[in-house]
Protein backbone atom coordinates (compact mmCIF):
# COMPACT_ATOMS: atom_id res chain seq x y z
CA UNK A 1 0.00 0.00 0.00
CA UNK A 2 1.49 3.32 -1.11
CA UNK A 3 -0.13 5.48 1.53
CA UNK A 4 2.12 8.59 1.75
CA UNK A 5 2.56 8.80 -2.01
CA UNK A 6 -1.17 9.06 -2.69
CA UNK A 7 -1.76 11.26 0.36
CA UNK A 8 0.85 13.81 -0.75
CA UNK A 9 -0.93 14.20 -4.08
CA UNK A 10 -4.43 14.88 -2.70
CA UNK A 11 -4.54 18.58 -3.67
CA UNK A 12 -3.50 17.80 -7.23
CA UNK A 13 -5.73 14.74 -7.45
CA UNK A 14 -8.92 16.20 -5.96
CA UNK A 15 -8.71 19.79 -7.09
CA UNK A 16 -6.24 20.02 -10.00
CA UNK A 17 -4.04 22.32 -7.92
CA UNK A 18 -1.02 23.27 -9.99
CA UNK A 19 1.11 26.35 -10.17
CA UNK A 20 1.27 29.70 -11.90
CA UNK A 21 4.53 31.31 -12.96
CA UNK A 22 4.81 34.81 -11.48
CA UNK A 23 7.20 35.76 -14.29
CA UNK A 24 5.36 34.78 -17.45
CA UNK A 25 1.88 33.87 -16.11
CA UNK A 26 2.18 30.35 -17.50
CA UNK A 27 -0.09 27.84 -15.76
CA UNK A 28 1.66 24.65 -14.76
CA UNK A 29 0.17 21.21 -14.18
CA UNK A 30 1.40 18.86 -12.83
CA UNK A 31 3.29 21.23 -10.51
CA UNK A 32 7.03 21.22 -11.13
CA UNK A 33 8.28 24.40 -9.41
CA UNK A 34 10.27 25.51 -12.45
CA UNK A 35 8.25 27.13 -15.22
CA UNK A 36 8.52 24.99 -18.36
CA UNK A 37 8.04 28.08 -20.52
CA UNK A 38 10.48 30.64 -19.10
CA UNK A 39 12.60 28.53 -16.76
CA UNK A 40 12.01 30.78 -13.75
CA UNK A 41 10.76 29.64 -10.38
CA UNK A 42 7.00 28.91 -10.34
CA UNK A 43 5.79 27.94 -6.89
CA UNK A 44 2.55 29.92 -6.53
CA UNK A 45 -0.41 27.55 -6.24
CA UNK A 46 -3.11 27.77 -8.87
CA UNK A 47 -6.39 25.87 -9.05
CA UNK A 48 -7.37 24.85 -12.56
CA UNK A 49 -10.98 25.18 -13.67
CA UNK A 50 -11.19 21.55 -14.75
CA UNK A 51 -12.46 22.53 -18.20
CA UNK A 52 -10.65 21.32 -21.26
CA UNK A 53 -10.85 19.32 -24.45
CA UNK A 54 -9.69 15.90 -25.57
CA UNK A 55 -6.23 16.10 -27.18
CA UNK A 56 -5.97 12.37 -27.84
CA UNK A 57 -7.62 9.21 -26.56
CA UNK A 58 -7.46 5.43 -26.64
CA UNK A 59 -8.84 2.40 -24.86
CA UNK A 60 -6.98 0.10 -22.50
CA UNK A 61 -7.92 -3.59 -22.63
CA UNK A 62 -4.72 -5.03 -21.18
CA UNK A 63 -4.12 -3.20 -17.92
CA UNK A 64 -1.71 -3.17 -15.01
CA UNK A 65 -2.61 -4.27 -11.50
CA UNK A 66 -5.25 -2.10 -9.86
CA UNK A 67 -6.82 -1.36 -13.24
CA UNK A 68 -7.29 -4.89 -14.56
CA UNK A 69 -10.82 -5.18 -13.17
CA UNK A 70 -11.87 -1.89 -14.81
CA UNK A 71 -11.08 -2.77 -18.42
CA UNK A 72 -11.94 -1.59 -20.93
CA UNK A 73 -11.35 2.01 -19.93
CA UNK A 74 -10.62 5.17 -21.91
CA UNK A 75 -7.34 6.95 -21.38
CA UNK A 76 -6.78 10.42 -22.74
CA UNK A 77 -4.61 13.46 -22.86
CA UNK A 78 -6.75 16.46 -22.03
CA UNK A 79 -5.79 20.01 -23.00
CA UNK A 80 -6.86 22.18 -20.06
CA UNK A 81 -8.31 25.56 -20.98
CA UNK A 82 -5.46 27.24 -19.05
CA UNK A 83 -2.91 25.54 -21.32
CA UNK A 84 -1.32 22.39 -19.92
CA UNK A 85 -1.95 18.85 -21.11
CA UNK A 86 -2.87 16.25 -18.52
CA UNK A 87 -3.11 12.46 -18.76
CA UNK A 88 -6.34 11.10 -17.28
CA UNK A 89 -9.16 8.67 -17.80
CA UNK A 90 -12.43 9.68 -19.43
CA UNK A 91 -15.58 8.50 -17.68
CA UNK A 92 -19.38 8.52 -18.12
CA UNK A 93 -18.91 8.02 -21.84
CA UNK A 94 -21.72 5.66 -22.75
CA UNK A 95 -23.40 6.63 -26.00
CA UNK A 96 -20.89 9.43 -26.50
CA UNK A 97 -18.37 8.75 -29.19
CA UNK A 98 -15.12 10.29 -28.03
CA UNK A 99 -13.56 12.71 -30.47
CA UNK A 100 -10.41 14.80 -30.41
CA UNK A 101 -11.54 18.30 -29.48
CA UNK A 102 -14.55 17.11 -27.45
CA UNK A 103 -15.13 19.47 -24.47
CA UNK A 104 -14.71 17.74 -21.13
CA UNK A 105 -14.85 18.68 -17.45
CA UNK A 106 -13.07 17.34 -14.39
CA UNK A 107 -14.83 15.05 -11.96
CA UNK A 108 -13.46 13.30 -8.89
CA UNK A 109 -13.71 9.54 -9.14
CA UNK A 110 -12.09 6.39 -7.86
CA UNK A 111 -8.85 6.02 -9.78
CA UNK A 112 -8.31 2.41 -8.87
CA UNK A 113 -10.96 -0.23 -8.63
CA UNK A 114 -8.66 -2.08 -6.28
CA UNK A 115 -9.08 -5.83 -6.42
CA UNK A 116 -7.93 -5.91 -2.82
CA UNK A 117 -10.80 -4.82 -0.61
CA UNK A 118 -8.44 -4.19 2.25
CA UNK A 119 -6.41 -1.44 0.59
CA UNK A 120 -7.05 2.29 0.58
CA UNK A 121 -9.26 3.79 -2.08
CA UNK A 122 -7.45 6.18 -4.39
CA UNK A 123 -9.55 9.10 -5.61
CA UNK A 124 -8.56 11.59 -8.26
CA UNK A 125 -9.40 13.48 -11.41
CA UNK A 126 -11.05 12.02 -14.44
CA UNK A 127 -12.84 13.91 -17.20
CA UNK A 128 -16.32 13.47 -18.63
CA UNK A 129 -18.21 15.07 -21.52
CA UNK A 130 -19.36 18.53 -20.35
CA UNK A 131 -22.84 18.46 -18.80
CA UNK A 132 -25.09 21.31 -19.80
CA UNK A 133 -26.76 23.41 -17.16
Amino acid sequence: MDIPRHWRLRKQRYGLVGEVCEHCDSKVFPPRDICPDCGEEAKTLFSFSGKGEVYSHSTVYDAPKGFDESTPYTIAMVKLEEGPLVTAQLTDLQEKEVKIGMPVEMVTRKLREAGDERSMIVYGYKFRPVMSH
Binding site: L9, P30, S56, H57, S58, A63, D68, M77, T87, Q89
Partner: protein
Amino acid sequence: MENNKIHTVVISGLGQTSVGEHWDISLRELAFFAIEKALVNNRGGYPQALYLANMLAPALSHQSHLATMVADFSGLRGIEATTIEASGASGGMAFRQGYMAVASGLVDSVIVAGVEKLTEQTSVNVNSAFATNTDSEYEADHGLTPTSQAALLMKRYIYEYDVPDFAFSGFPVVAHANGASNKNAMFQRAIKPESYQRAGFVSEPLNMFDVAPYADGAAAVILTRAELVADLPEIPTVSVSGSSAVIDTLALHDRQNPIVFNAAKESIAKVYAQSGLGHSDIDLFELFDAYSIFGALSLEAAGFSEAGKGWELAQDGRINLDGEIPISTFGGLKARGYPGGATGVYQIVEAATQLMGLAEENQVKGAKNALVQSLGGPASTAVTHILSQIER
Protein backbone atom coordinates in the same frame (compact mmCIF):
# COMPACT_ATOMS: atom_id res chain seq x y z
CA MET B 1 33.17 17.10 -28.35
CA GLU B 2 36.66 17.21 -29.73
CA ASN B 3 37.61 13.83 -31.06
CA ASN B 4 41.34 14.42 -30.88
CA LYS B 5 41.24 14.30 -27.10
CA ILE B 6 39.66 10.89 -26.89
CA HIS B 7 40.71 7.44 -27.95
CA THR B 8 39.19 5.62 -30.90
CA VAL B 9 37.00 2.78 -29.67
CA VAL B 10 36.34 -0.34 -31.71
CA ILE B 11 34.05 -3.32 -31.35
CA SER B 12 36.17 -6.38 -30.69
CA GLY B 13 33.56 -8.98 -29.77
CA LEU B 14 29.85 -9.68 -30.27
CA GLY B 15 27.41 -12.12 -28.75
CA GLN B 16 23.66 -12.66 -28.63
CA THR B 17 21.12 -15.27 -27.65
CA SER B 18 17.96 -15.88 -29.58
CA VAL B 19 15.04 -13.67 -28.60
CA GLY B 20 11.87 -15.34 -27.40
CA GLU B 21 10.46 -17.28 -24.49
CA HIS B 22 13.37 -18.84 -22.61
CA TRP B 23 11.36 -20.74 -20.02
CA ASP B 24 14.21 -23.00 -18.96
CA ILE B 25 16.96 -20.37 -18.82
CA SER B 26 17.41 -18.04 -15.85
CA LEU B 27 18.32 -14.36 -16.01
CA ARG B 28 21.95 -15.02 -15.06
CA GLU B 29 22.34 -17.89 -17.51
CA LEU B 30 20.85 -15.88 -20.35
CA ALA B 31 23.26 -13.01 -19.71
CA PHE B 32 26.16 -15.41 -19.44
CA PHE B 33 25.37 -17.07 -22.80
CA ALA B 34 25.64 -13.73 -24.60
CA ILE B 35 28.76 -12.69 -22.67
CA GLU B 36 30.39 -16.05 -23.32
CA LYS B 37 29.85 -15.73 -27.07
CA ALA B 38 31.32 -12.23 -27.08
CA LEU B 39 34.35 -13.37 -25.07
CA VAL B 40 34.92 -16.33 -27.40
CA ASN B 41 35.11 -14.19 -30.51
CA ASN B 42 36.80 -11.23 -28.81
CA ARG B 43 39.91 -10.04 -30.56
CA GLY B 44 40.58 -7.18 -28.17
CA GLY B 45 41.74 -7.12 -24.58
CA TYR B 46 40.20 -8.87 -21.60
CA PRO B 47 37.36 -6.64 -20.31
CA GLN B 48 38.09 -4.68 -17.18
CA ALA B 49 34.49 -3.60 -16.63
CA LEU B 50 30.95 -4.81 -17.28
CA TYR B 51 28.19 -2.31 -18.07
CA LEU B 52 24.99 -4.28 -17.85
CA ALA B 53 21.77 -2.95 -19.31
CA ASN B 54 18.52 -4.02 -17.71
CA MET B 55 15.17 -2.36 -17.19
CA LEU B 56 12.88 -4.50 -15.04
CA ALA B 57 14.78 -7.23 -13.18
CA PRO B 58 14.05 -5.71 -9.74
CA ALA B 59 10.31 -5.85 -10.48
CA LEU B 60 10.05 -9.02 -12.57
CA SER B 61 12.98 -11.19 -11.44
CA HIS B 62 13.30 -9.93 -7.85
CA GLN B 63 16.92 -9.10 -8.52
CA SER B 64 18.77 -5.84 -8.15
CA HIS B 65 22.56 -5.56 -7.86
CA LEU B 66 22.33 -7.30 -11.18
CA ALA B 67 25.68 -6.51 -12.80
CA THR B 68 27.55 -8.02 -9.88
CA MET B 69 25.49 -11.18 -10.10
CA VAL B 70 26.03 -11.49 -13.86
CA ALA B 71 29.78 -10.73 -13.69
CA ASP B 72 30.15 -13.24 -10.87
CA PHE B 73 28.18 -15.93 -12.70
CA SER B 74 30.12 -15.26 -15.93
CA GLY B 75 33.45 -15.84 -14.21
CA LEU B 76 34.39 -12.18 -14.40
CA ARG B 77 35.19 -11.83 -10.69
CA GLY B 78 37.36 -8.94 -9.71
CA ILE B 79 36.29 -6.64 -12.53
CA GLU B 80 34.21 -3.47 -12.20
CA ALA B 81 30.49 -4.02 -12.84
CA THR B 82 27.46 -1.77 -12.79
CA THR B 83 23.86 -1.92 -13.99
CA ILE B 84 22.50 0.79 -16.28
CA GLU B 85 18.78 1.52 -16.42
CA ALA B 86 17.22 4.02 -18.80
CA SER B 87 13.96 2.25 -19.63
CA GLY B 88 13.95 1.02 -23.25
CA ALA B 89 17.16 2.97 -23.85
CA SER B 90 19.07 0.98 -21.21
CA GLY B 91 21.07 -0.95 -23.82
CA GLY B 92 22.08 2.15 -25.73
CA MET B 93 22.93 3.92 -22.49
CA ALA B 94 25.11 1.02 -21.23
CA PHE B 95 26.92 1.02 -24.58
CA ARG B 96 27.55 4.76 -24.20
CA GLN B 97 28.95 4.24 -20.68
CA GLY B 98 31.28 1.56 -22.03
CA TYR B 99 32.28 3.78 -24.92
CA MET B 100 33.04 6.72 -22.60
CA ALA B 101 35.10 4.51 -20.29
CA VAL B 102 37.33 3.25 -23.11
CA ALA B 103 37.43 6.55 -24.99
CA SER B 104 38.59 8.31 -21.84
CA GLY B 105 41.55 5.98 -21.53
CA LEU B 106 40.63 4.91 -18.01
CA VAL B 107 40.13 1.33 -19.17
CA ASP B 108 41.40 -0.53 -22.22
CA SER B 109 38.44 -2.82 -22.76
CA VAL B 110 34.89 -3.23 -21.46
CA ILE B 111 32.05 -5.59 -22.01
CA VAL B 112 28.61 -4.07 -22.51
CA ALA B 113 25.79 -6.55 -22.08
CA GLY B 114 22.03 -6.33 -21.89
CA VAL B 115 19.68 -8.89 -20.41
CA GLU B 116 15.97 -9.02 -19.81
CA LYS B 117 13.42 -11.70 -19.00
CA LEU B 118 9.90 -10.42 -19.62
CA THR B 119 8.26 -13.85 -19.45
CA GLU B 120 8.84 -14.42 -15.74
CA GLN B 121 5.46 -13.07 -14.68
CA THR B 122 1.85 -12.99 -15.85
CA SER B 123 0.84 -10.17 -18.15
CA VAL B 124 -0.83 -8.03 -15.44
CA ASN B 125 2.46 -7.94 -13.53
CA VAL B 126 4.46 -7.25 -16.69
CA ASN B 127 2.07 -4.41 -17.52
CA SER B 128 2.50 -3.01 -14.00
CA ALA B 129 6.27 -3.17 -14.27
CA PHE B 130 6.30 -1.47 -17.69
CA ALA B 131 3.95 1.23 -16.40
CA THR B 132 6.66 2.25 -13.90
CA ASN B 133 8.62 3.56 -16.89
CA THR B 134 6.07 6.33 -17.29
CA ASP B 135 5.58 9.18 -14.80
CA SER B 136 4.18 6.98 -12.10
CA GLU B 137 2.26 9.68 -10.18
CA TYR B 138 0.78 11.50 -13.15
CA GLU B 139 0.60 8.84 -15.85
CA ALA B 140 0.67 5.28 -14.48
CA ASP B 141 -1.56 6.10 -11.48
CA HIS B 142 -4.22 7.12 -13.98
CA GLY B 143 -4.10 3.79 -15.77
CA LEU B 144 -1.75 4.77 -18.59
CA THR B 145 0.50 2.04 -19.99
CA PRO B 146 3.37 2.52 -22.47
CA THR B 147 1.24 0.80 -25.10
CA SER B 148 -1.81 3.02 -24.57
CA GLN B 149 0.52 6.02 -24.56
CA ALA B 150 1.82 5.00 -27.99
CA ALA B 151 -1.84 4.75 -29.04
CA LEU B 152 -2.42 8.34 -27.84
CA LEU B 153 0.55 9.48 -29.92
CA MET B 154 -0.60 7.55 -32.99
CA LYS B 155 -4.17 8.85 -32.66
CA ARG B 156 -3.01 12.46 -32.48
CA TYR B 157 -0.53 11.94 -35.33
CA ILE B 158 -3.27 10.51 -37.56
CA TYR B 159 -5.52 13.45 -36.62
CA GLU B 160 -2.95 16.20 -37.20
CA TYR B 161 -1.52 14.84 -40.44
CA ASP B 162 -4.75 13.36 -41.77
CA VAL B 163 -3.07 10.02 -42.31
CA PRO B 164 -5.02 7.33 -44.23
CA ASP B 165 -6.08 3.97 -42.75
CA PHE B 166 -3.36 1.31 -42.46
CA ALA B 167 -0.69 3.94 -43.15
CA PHE B 168 1.69 2.35 -40.66
CA SER B 169 1.57 -1.15 -42.16
CA GLY B 170 4.95 -0.63 -43.85
CA PHE B 171 6.80 -0.83 -40.54
CA PRO B 172 5.69 -4.30 -39.39
CA VAL B 173 5.72 -5.65 -42.96
CA VAL B 174 9.36 -4.66 -43.44
CA ALA B 175 10.35 -5.76 -39.92
CA HIS B 176 8.81 -9.21 -40.37
CA ALA B 177 10.36 -9.59 -43.84
CA ASN B 178 13.79 -8.92 -42.35
CA GLY B 179 13.14 -11.06 -39.27
CA ALA B 180 12.32 -14.02 -41.49
CA SER B 181 16.01 -14.66 -42.17
CA ASN B 182 17.31 -13.81 -38.66
CA LYS B 183 17.79 -17.06 -36.77
CA ASN B 184 17.79 -15.13 -33.48
CA ALA B 185 14.47 -13.41 -34.16
CA MET B 186 11.35 -14.19 -32.18
CA PHE B 187 9.22 -14.15 -35.34
CA GLN B 188 10.84 -15.61 -38.43
CA ARG B 189 7.94 -15.26 -40.80
CA ALA B 190 7.01 -12.50 -43.22
CA ILE B 191 3.53 -11.00 -42.96
CA LYS B 192 1.25 -9.67 -45.68
CA PRO B 193 -0.22 -6.15 -45.62
CA GLU B 194 -3.66 -7.82 -45.57
CA SER B 195 -2.82 -9.46 -42.24
CA TYR B 196 -2.11 -6.02 -40.82
CA GLN B 197 -5.45 -4.76 -42.10
CA ARG B 198 -7.30 -7.65 -40.46
CA ALA B 199 -5.54 -7.42 -37.09
CA GLY B 200 -7.50 -6.62 -33.93
CA PHE B 201 -6.86 -3.48 -31.92
CA VAL B 202 -4.61 -3.65 -28.89
CA SER B 203 -5.35 -0.04 -27.96
CA GLU B 204 -7.12 1.74 -30.80
CA PRO B 205 -5.70 2.84 -33.30
CA LEU B 206 -2.79 0.56 -32.40
CA ASN B 207 -3.26 -3.00 -33.65
CA MET B 208 -1.32 -6.12 -32.67
CA PHE B 209 1.15 -5.63 -35.54
CA ASP B 210 1.93 -2.10 -34.38
CA VAL B 211 3.27 -3.40 -31.06
CA ALA B 212 6.61 -5.15 -30.55
CA PRO B 213 6.36 -8.33 -28.45
CA TYR B 214 7.84 -8.44 -24.95
CA ALA B 215 10.46 -11.17 -24.90
CA ASP B 216 13.54 -12.64 -23.21
CA GLY B 217 17.02 -12.08 -24.59
CA ALA B 218 20.60 -11.11 -23.94
CA ALA B 219 23.28 -9.53 -26.09
CA ALA B 220 26.87 -8.46 -25.47
CA VAL B 221 29.51 -6.30 -27.14
CA ILE B 222 33.17 -5.91 -26.22
CA LEU B 223 34.68 -2.47 -26.77
CA THR B 224 38.44 -2.01 -26.90
CA ARG B 225 40.79 0.88 -27.55
CA ALA B 226 41.57 0.72 -31.28
CA GLU B 227 45.34 0.34 -31.10
CA LEU B 228 44.96 -2.80 -28.95
CA VAL B 229 42.99 -4.64 -31.65
CA ALA B 230 44.71 -6.35 -34.53
CA ASP B 231 43.03 -5.94 -37.93
CA LEU B 232 41.71 -9.10 -39.51
CA PRO B 233 42.31 -9.29 -43.23
CA GLU B 234 38.84 -10.52 -44.20
CA ILE B 235 36.57 -8.67 -41.76
CA PRO B 236 36.37 -4.88 -41.49
CA THR B 237 36.91 -3.36 -38.06
CA VAL B 238 34.00 -1.31 -36.72
CA SER B 239 34.50 1.80 -34.62
CA VAL B 240 32.20 4.02 -32.66
CA SER B 241 32.26 7.29 -34.55
CA GLY B 242 29.50 9.09 -32.65
CA SER B 243 27.75 8.72 -29.30
CA SER B 244 25.15 10.85 -27.55
CA ALA B 245 22.32 10.70 -25.04
CA VAL B 246 19.63 13.37 -24.65
CA ILE B 247 16.56 13.46 -22.44
CA ASP B 248 13.16 15.07 -22.93
CA THR B 249 10.32 15.37 -20.38
CA LEU B 250 9.54 12.03 -18.74
CA ALA B 251 5.77 12.54 -19.11
CA LEU B 252 4.40 12.91 -22.61
CA HIS B 253 1.85 15.51 -21.47
CA ASP B 254 4.64 17.87 -20.37
CA ARG B 255 5.71 18.53 -23.98
CA GLN B 256 4.72 21.48 -26.10
CA ASN B 257 4.28 19.20 -29.08
CA PRO B 258 4.02 15.53 -28.14
CA ILE B 259 4.16 14.24 -31.70
CA VAL B 260 7.75 15.32 -32.24
CA PHE B 261 10.59 13.23 -30.77
CA ASN B 262 12.84 16.16 -29.83
CA ALA B 263 15.36 14.19 -27.81
CA ALA B 264 15.74 11.76 -30.71
CA LYS B 265 16.32 14.68 -33.05
CA GLU B 266 18.87 16.41 -30.83
CA SER B 267 20.85 13.29 -30.09
CA ILE B 268 21.16 12.60 -33.82
CA ALA B 269 22.39 16.14 -34.42
CA LYS B 270 25.06 15.49 -31.80
CA VAL B 271 26.34 12.25 -33.34
CA TYR B 272 26.47 13.88 -36.75
CA ALA B 273 28.49 16.74 -35.28
CA GLN B 274 30.87 14.35 -33.51
CA SER B 275 31.37 12.04 -36.48
CA GLY B 276 31.40 14.64 -39.20
CA LEU B 277 28.88 12.45 -41.02
CA GLY B 278 25.44 13.38 -42.33
CA HIS B 279 22.29 11.81 -43.76
CA SER B 280 23.84 10.88 -47.06
CA ASP B 281 26.57 8.91 -45.31
CA ILE B 282 24.16 6.66 -43.37
CA ASP B 283 23.64 3.24 -44.94
CA LEU B 284 21.21 1.81 -42.41
CA PHE B 285 19.24 2.95 -39.38
CA GLU B 286 18.52 0.63 -36.47
CA LEU B 287 15.66 2.58 -34.95
CA PHE B 288 13.52 1.81 -31.93
CA ASP B 289 10.30 0.41 -33.37
CA ALA B 290 8.64 -0.64 -30.10
CA TYR B 291 5.51 0.69 -31.84
CA SER B 292 5.13 1.51 -35.51
CA ILE B 293 4.33 5.13 -34.62
CA PHE B 294 7.80 5.26 -33.01
CA GLY B 295 9.24 4.15 -36.36
CA ALA B 296 7.58 7.06 -38.15
CA LEU B 297 8.52 9.62 -35.49
CA SER B 298 12.12 8.33 -35.38
CA LEU B 299 12.53 8.64 -39.17
CA GLU B 300 11.18 12.18 -38.90
CA ALA B 301 13.43 13.04 -35.95
CA ALA B 302 16.45 11.75 -37.86
CA GLY B 303 15.54 13.98 -40.81
CA PHE B 304 14.94 11.15 -43.28
CA SER B 305 11.45 12.51 -43.67
CA GLU B 306 9.61 15.72 -42.90
CA ALA B 307 7.13 15.84 -40.02
CA GLY B 308 3.97 13.87 -40.74
CA LYS B 309 5.53 11.92 -43.62
CA GLY B 310 7.53 9.25 -41.79
CA TRP B 311 4.90 6.62 -42.55
CA GLU B 312 5.19 7.34 -46.28
CA LEU B 313 8.84 6.35 -46.18
CA ALA B 314 7.74 2.90 -45.01
CA GLN B 315 5.77 2.42 -48.23
CA ASP B 316 7.10 1.19 -51.58
CA GLY B 317 10.24 -0.52 -50.29
CA ARG B 318 12.11 2.63 -49.31
CA ILE B 319 13.08 1.20 -45.88
CA ASN B 320 13.79 -2.32 -47.19
CA LEU B 321 17.29 -3.81 -47.08
CA ASP B 322 17.89 -2.46 -50.59
CA GLY B 323 15.90 0.73 -50.10
CA GLU B 324 17.09 4.28 -49.60
CA ILE B 325 17.29 3.96 -45.80
CA PRO B 326 17.10 0.36 -44.57
CA ILE B 327 15.73 0.05 -41.02
CA SER B 328 15.24 -2.86 -38.59
CA THR B 329 17.57 -4.94 -40.73
CA PHE B 330 17.30 -8.05 -38.55
CA GLY B 331 13.61 -7.55 -37.82
CA GLY B 332 13.79 -4.68 -35.37
CA LEU B 333 11.89 -4.78 -32.10
CA LYS B 334 8.77 -5.86 -33.97
CA ALA B 335 10.06 -9.16 -35.41
CA ARG B 336 13.33 -9.84 -33.58
CA GLY B 337 11.42 -9.09 -30.37
CA TYR B 338 11.63 -6.51 -27.59
CA PRO B 339 13.76 -7.84 -24.74
CA GLY B 340 13.52 -4.66 -22.62
CA GLY B 341 16.89 -3.28 -21.57
CA ALA B 342 18.80 -5.75 -23.75
CA THR B 343 17.26 -4.28 -26.90
CA GLY B 344 19.79 -1.49 -27.37
CA VAL B 345 22.66 -3.98 -27.22
CA TYR B 346 20.95 -6.15 -29.85
CA GLN B 347 20.67 -3.07 -32.06
CA ILE B 348 24.42 -2.46 -31.73
CA VAL B 349 25.26 -6.13 -32.36
CA GLU B 350 23.08 -6.11 -35.48
CA ALA B 351 24.49 -2.86 -36.85
CA ALA B 352 28.07 -4.04 -36.22
CA THR B 353 27.27 -7.34 -37.96
CA GLN B 354 26.12 -5.36 -41.01
CA LEU B 355 29.30 -3.26 -41.09
CA MET B 356 31.46 -6.36 -40.68
CA GLY B 357 29.73 -7.79 -43.74
CA LEU B 358 28.49 -10.81 -41.79
CA ALA B 359 24.74 -10.24 -42.12
CA GLU B 360 24.30 -12.94 -44.78
CA GLU B 361 20.74 -12.81 -46.19
CA ASN B 362 20.09 -9.61 -44.22
CA GLN B 363 23.18 -7.84 -45.53
CA VAL B 364 22.80 -4.21 -46.58
CA LYS B 365 25.18 -4.07 -49.51
CA GLY B 366 28.22 -1.89 -49.03
CA ALA B 367 27.14 -0.67 -45.59
CA LYS B 368 29.86 1.56 -44.10
CA ASN B 369 28.02 3.70 -41.53
CA ALA B 370 25.10 2.71 -39.34
CA LEU B 371 22.91 4.93 -37.21
CA VAL B 372 21.63 3.20 -34.07
CA GLN B 373 19.06 4.73 -31.74
CA SER B 374 17.47 3.42 -28.54
CA LEU B 375 14.52 5.15 -26.87
CA GLY B 376 13.36 5.12 -23.30
CA GLY B 377 9.63 5.85 -23.17
CA PRO B 378 8.29 8.08 -25.97
CA ALA B 379 11.84 9.37 -26.59
CA SER B 380 12.01 10.62 -22.99
CA THR B 381 15.55 9.32 -23.30
CA ALA B 382 17.22 9.00 -26.68
CA VAL B 383 20.64 7.39 -27.05
CA THR B 384 22.19 7.48 -30.51
CA HIS B 385 25.38 6.00 -31.91
CA ILE B 386 27.05 5.91 -35.29
CA LEU B 387 29.12 2.84 -35.99
CA SER B 388 31.55 3.02 -38.92
CA GLN B 389 33.85 0.72 -40.83
CA ILE B 390 37.42 1.75 -40.24
CA GLU B 391 39.08 2.52 -43.57
CA ARG B 392 42.14 0.46 -44.11
